[in-house]
Amino acid sequence: MSIALDRQIRPIYDSLDTGANKSAIVGCNKLLKKHPKNALVQALKALALVRSQKVEEALALCDEVLEYKPTDDATLNAMMHVLRGLGRHKDMITMYEAAYKKQPANEELGAQTFFANVRANNWKSAQQVASKMYKQFQEDRYLYWSAISTVLQANDPNTAAEMRTLLYKLALRLITSSPASSHVHPDRFHLHLTILRELREFDEAMALLETPNGQNICQTNLACNEIRRDIMRLRGALEDEGRRAEQRILNKNDRNWLEFLSVVDGTFSHLTVSKPSEDAREQCLSKVSNTLALFTKISVQDGKKDRSGLLGLLELESRSRKHGISTDPTRMVQLLKQYFETFGDKACCYEDLKPYVSLEGGDLAAWTEFLKASPPPLSTTENVKRVINTHKLLRYNLSASELTVEAESSRAVLYIEQYLEGLPLGKDLPVTELQHVDDFAILAASVFVNIWKLNGDIKYLYNAVVLLEFALSQSKQAFQMRLMLIRIYRLLGSPSVALEHYRLLGIKQVQNDTLSHFILSRASTFSLAASGDLTLSTECVESSQIYISNSQETSDFVIRAFSGEKYSQIPQFILFENWLDNSLQRDIVKLEYLRMRITHEVISSEVIDLELIELKFVFDRIHHDNRDLEIIPNYQPRDVESFNAQTMMFEKSEGHGWVWSFLKSYIKAFSQASDLDDVVEEKLLVGDRPQAAGPAKTGTLKERLAIREKEELAELTSDELSLISYADALAEWLEPFHDHVRPPASVVLAEAAKQTELKTGMPLKGVDITPPNGHVKKEEDTPPITEAPEDLVKFFENMKARFETVENAESPNEALHVATLTQEAFLLFVIETLRFKSASVVKIHKLGNLVAKFKPIRAIAAGILKDMAGSLEKMSALEGTSEKRRDFVSACMLPSSQMDDDFQMNIAKKVTDSRKKVEEGVAKGLMRLCSTYEQ
């Protein structure tokens, strides 16, 4: 490249770096006038175009540059970004392969070719490239690249099971062919061990582990030590491992719980067979007494400094009981008491003991008696923690007969009293600290929720929110209370208050994936998008940003891990990328967003086409559930549902089944309404099709859509189930007419090509744009017009009846649920009948009789929706009154000295205002949609 040209190109890079894509395009155009065939300038222009969302133009340029088969770094690099932006990983591979072939001595090109394959998860080719590089450049690194590529190929869900071992054997052969041994480098060693473990070559693994280097690595590298431990377990060397762990505990003061578990595992190693001999039991008994002595010694030595010794004793006794060789029937309770006495003032005491306190009979009685005996005064923070732990532990074992409304109520009173009594202990804490007594409030709120579950009286939820709001005002960072409040406010039909709290949590980045369910689960119930308020749908878009970051960034780090030879991380990164990409929550939010979108935007064929393509991608995913449901505290008794389950809206958690159910309904409706059939889609698709995660799903799309599994439907509320059946009936009825009217692929493609050419001045690649000769008329006649299935009208009538039974409920949620689902049914009807709106279509295909059947259904639906809107309107008028607020306050049973009337009134106002807003907004939305689509 001439120096002059180089100087002219630099500003283009600057523009691209600063996001000034427009000026980059202008700069490129200027240069292209003089150098019309300069690949680098073309590539840079393509990049600027991609970044300005001008995909069609970028595609044309991109294809042109690819034809030159560039080899210079600058052009390749620009093109890499272009192709990534377009999702064309396969083309990237082709490009680098061609370049590397032209310059086989260029190491950088080899590495880039390898990385291109890595980005596309093309492990087999990656392995071949790495092997070739190893031969050429004689660097051990490349040998390891090829070995781990082989392992990754073996782990790929698309690889046949019988290939796995073969591939692992190949990987092992690659590593052992290296003149340098693996244990000079922890991550190489890690890879080597992983392979040996998979192949169960334990002797070989042990030989490596016992070298001085191997031992050293395991001392300092937790990841390698993890595999070592695993290998010991797999080869049944529990006893050896137990002895080793004992030495570490004694000599190195190691208090890693894993070491204690190893000692316990070693102790019972003789009893792992199904029918141990009497001899084995004897041996085991003597080992138990040795371990007992060891752990007792540690617990005495550590005292309050470390919990391992005592907890080890509990684990030992618990296993002894499981194996039926416990020698002292009182020891379990004795140890529990001892533990409680030593660590009862630690917040984690409850969690530590939980696995051991599911007691029965005499044990339970003794344990309960111990806990109940003379609780200490709430004069110190240690005592506060101790009393809280007592309550939690007692509560865990409460039986059904102890869980009456009266008994629970008096517990709530006690917890609140103690909360208030202990509160002054923390009066000097900085605002960033949690109050010591917080858990009293959490316990009391849990009790209120449990009473509500018992008797259905909503006033207990009011009490729960007032108490939690108060406690939160005293302990501003108590996120657990906030999470509980979010759940309860949603149950109360006050979504905007819930959202306020959610925002205060400061959810960021990957937390959007794990925590957005708190606010977006069944969010369309509360969506006001139809009346123009996009708060919730914006929330959906924002929480989904993380998936874009994931697909843009994570693969870069996989590459970096290769460059830095951090092999232990590579499978982890790939797994992480995969879980996030195929996140269940992602697609729950996607569906909620879609359900809101169609209430807000005009339903058009563009919206339908775009959504259809996206949904079909989603349909090929195998989802992973990353939602964090553990984060919400649970102190409900062991025989009662967890707090999480108790506060789920409509008592149903949406999971895979929910997603599949709605997905199928929408794909059905959209694919009927759309002109994009599979042939067209394939031609028009930009970028690679996402790799199916796992063995390809079998059957055609149509077959797959038709299946409704029982387990899937079980995740739906009864009203959602009605909607799904309605949608099925509607789709079944109209399918033949859609199929008849839909223009053939050639016509759709010709039209698309025409549009592209108008836009870019270049023909669409791979599509013949000569329009089919003459007027394409279908050979077949219009299918016979059939009556509308009765189910359609019946659905709307049933929903009307349902609405009437729930409209006077204390919480508006059911009414909102029924109303928004009825609205959704109406919109599905609009989607399914959109094609027949055009008078010419009706005329050409003689569908007048069919269209005539739409009218009465639409009219009935609209009539019912308007009635619902009217009722919601009335409900909202009532919510806004001072009477409602007074009702709320008078339902509160909390000590008014602290939580005074003003405080309570304030919350009452928040709750009722929020209800009013959502009822009003949904009503307005219903009216607007009726007027838009009634005709």
Binding site: S308, A347, T432, R560, A561, I631
Partner: protein, 183 residues
């Protein structure tokens, strides 16, 4: 009593009980992946036997010549697991690895000047203030911490390779540098 194990990429799905705490920042995924792709052995997790995360540490090795050292980028323990010496255990591991694997001269970390609990903890573990860094942190917006809230102490502990303790000094609290001067 807890499980000490390596930090893994998928721990990002599990760290909410730690990260929802105000003192702990949730960074973009690239931040964690960057550390894991370079210093996986300096990143570890403490986990309860139930599998619940208790805390984690993320560190790196950096510096030229005699400044070559292990650095604690983030160390955090969930509120309910404080006062159980978890931080101490994670620090010991990080020190061990910085010493034996990376052969660093010292380990260092930054702490808000007003975070007395942490300061005391680190002093108890033989860390001492090397310098005060002005406006190292953004304002938390929770109180009138003033300078002490935004400034950081850079604290150091010499490792075996620095037998002469050249990497620390006794008057560190009086040495003030601006945030640009540190990496």
């Amino acid at each position: 009593m807890s499980v000490l194990r390596p930090f893994q990429a998928s721990d990002m799905f599990k760290f909410n009980n730690v990260n929802l705490d105000i003192w702990t920042e949730t960074y973009n995924i690239g931040f964690y992946l960057h550390y894991l792709s370079r210093w996986p052995d300096l990143c570890c997790v403490q986990e309860a036997p139930t599998g619940r995360m208790m805390g984690y540490v993320i560190g790196k090795a950096e510096g030229q010549g005699a400044e070559w050292h292990g650095h604690v980028t983030a160390i955090t323990v969930a509120p309910e697991y404080r006062r159980l010496s978890l931080a101490r255990k994670m620090m010991s591991l990080l020190e061990l690895v910085s010493d034996e694997i990376y052969r660093g001269f010292f380990v260092d970390l930054y702490v808000r000047c007003n975070n007395l609990v942490a300061l005391e903890l680190y002093e108890g573990m033989d860390y001492s203030v090397y310098r005060r860094v002005r406006e190292y942190y953004g304002n938390l917006g929770v109180g009138k911490g003033g300078r002490d809230e935004e400034d950081a102490f850079d604290m150091r502990k010499p490792l075996s390779r620095d037998g002469a303790r050249r990497s620390v000094r006794s008057n560190g609290r009086d040495i003030v540098v601006s945030a640009h001067d540190v990496s």
